[in-house]
Amino acid sequence: MTTSARRSKRTEALEQRPVNLDGFVEEWPEVGMVAMDSPYDPEPGVRVEDGVIVELDGKPRAEFDFLDQFIADHAIDVDATEQAMAIPAVDIAHLLIDPRATRRDVLAVTRGLTPAKLLEVVKTMNVVEMMMALQKMRARRTPANQAHATSARDNPVQVAADAAEASLRGFRELETTLGVVRYAPLVAIALQVGAQAGTPGVLTQCALEEATELELGMRGITAYAETISVYGTEPVFCDGDDTPWSKAFLASAYASRGIKMRFTSGTGSEVQMGNAEGKSMLYLEIRCILVTKGAGVQGLQNGSISCIGVPGAVPAGIRAVLAENLIASMVDLECASGNDQSFSHSDMRRVARLLPQLLPGTDFVCSGYSSTPNYDNMFAGSNVDAEDYDDWNVLQRDLQVDGGLRHVPEAELLAVRNRAARALQGVFAHLGLPPITGREIEAVTYAHGSKDLPPRDVLEDLKAAQSVLDRGVTGLDIVKGLDAAGFTDMAHSLLAVLRQRVSGDLLHTSAILTPELETLSAVNDTNDYAGPGTGYRPSGARWEEMKRLRHVVSAQNPEREVG
């Protein structure tokens, strides 16, 4: 744009700042382009007759859309609702931040709240208060983190190596997806193998359309599922070709095979699709959260996810994103809290968006930290990627906050990357899949991304991927392959992961496996935060581990570094 007006040097400097590449828009509440404070959101209210909710947030039952009805009949506790709704919103907010009120005390109230009431509660809170509340309401006492491991070329060797590194760096869940969908069986196997090469017990998933995702799960090639989307208005839900009932049925289908799963939703999707029905983004997201609750699903991935550009562009949008994570936790769901999509050109803004989840801790701080450079991220880029590892570790150390990761010396990383690739080589050979060469293993050991790797024979790989499905290869075959190739420890840990589906222990809220292969969930690791000096705080061995960085000057001998 040409302009003749003279500009100040300072303006010119500011214009060059990356943050000005981000998009910002004005609010427009009439169409739902507003984060959480809209005059068009309904007033809270509930009426129960004969054990049935007959009026919800000012709407009589006859006018309920299918979300209203599902929420009224399945999510809200009819016995608790009238009493809970009678409590002023600000009092409930006080309860949330009052350390003397336990998590259980809060749940006794929130189980009876309507969407509009939940919205009213968080509207009384600023972000610091929300963080305090989240610290208490997170379901699992110990926070954790999840990574994406993908490859721009769908290279299984790369996925195995990055999965192993991510697993060693501390992630407890790993997610992959594909550029070429037919590659899925090989990449899912690679993820599963790589995950066990770092620390044992890391759970893996592969984001695909529902049927294939379920099939890989049933075969034990993946360990859990996450990409089961729900939406906050009826037309958008239908555009996604689902209803709360179809999704509830799918949830039971997963549980019937012993497979852990969570739903996915987030602010901004409805306005993005032009069908927000004039409601605020957060109000619609609360409906998604309650649909999840009503379906009997243990948890939810939310925090805007793929629509982050929408709340990110309006005033208080990132506050609303924190609020949606908080509300998921407030209604006793596991929360995998976003921070998983490219969000801003500005490093400063990327961190600011991250802190509200990192500081209080969530069940999974990122629902996809990119374990590759973003160019390899097949989820279209994450808020944090492999080049941010050191920054993340420093943030944890500076603030003594546990974001689930740790610094690992290069030699150990090289060792597990190499080991994962060799294990995959053995498994591929055992299963008669296309060979992995020594050159590939060498390259992937030292690689940063897919550009550093020799290309694979895609034709052979795709044929083999099909044969994995045709031959009915299962997780057990991977276990046997690992054992045959001499990676007995990895075989054991994968068998332990598979055995989990027999016991169903992982189906409970916020469940993960520890490196010792113990199940840790909201049932046996209940968040017991009760104010200063209580709850989870990094200490002992974990804190010592967090103190280590790539470059720390030795106190013993300042001419040297410890690391």
């Binding site: 049925f249 549980a255 019937s256 027999v502 409970h508």
Partner: protein, 157 residues
């Protein structure tokens, strides 16, 4: 994969083994570690029989790595006692679905999509769930969907 498992008569509460077990989430969870004796695979194996040695000896089949309906009902009780009635209800529906072959599960899911089925088709599915699999909870969910879909005009025309 496609075989129809025997339908165990677990639809009447109070007469089944799982509900007779004394369970306390704080003491007994995780079941695999604390109460392994309660866990059997649908093929009748004990969980501690699923060892590496057994796998290598070819004594463990993929069918052995599935969850049994009894186990899901135990976990439902743990969910219930942990204050999660919806999660418990999901586990109970899942217990019913363990008897269904994979293809049928997927096809019912597809039938529940908007504008995918007529009311009669959904009613038929519910009847089949109930009569062939004793899946009363799932049948109720499908019937409920049929009513809502009719009211909201998202049945197949």
């Amino acid at each position: 994969m496609q075989r129809r498992c025997n339908v165990t008569p677990l639809t009447v509460p109070g007469v089944t083994t799982p509900s007779q077990v004394d369970l306390d989430p704080g003491r007994d969870y995780p079941l695999a570690a604390r109460r392994p004796e309660l866990l059997k695979t649908p093929t009748g194996k004990r969980i501690d029989e699923l060892t590496m040695e057994a796998v290598l000896a070819g004594e463990v089949a993929p069918e052995d790595l599935r969850i049994a309906p009894e186990t899901l009902r135990l976990q439902a009780r743990i969910a219930e006692q942990s204050g999660r009635p919806q999660l418990a209800q999901n586990f109970r529906r899942a217990a019913e679905l363990t008897a269904l072959p994979d293809e049928l599960v997927l096809s019912i899911y597809n039938s529940l999509r908007p504008r995918a089925s007529t009311k009669q088709q959904l009613t038929d599915i519910a009847d089949e769930l109930e009569s062939a699999y004793s899946a009363t909870l799932c049948a109720a969910l499908v019937r409920e969907a049929a009513d809502v879909y009719e009211r909201r005009n998202i049945l197949a025309s």
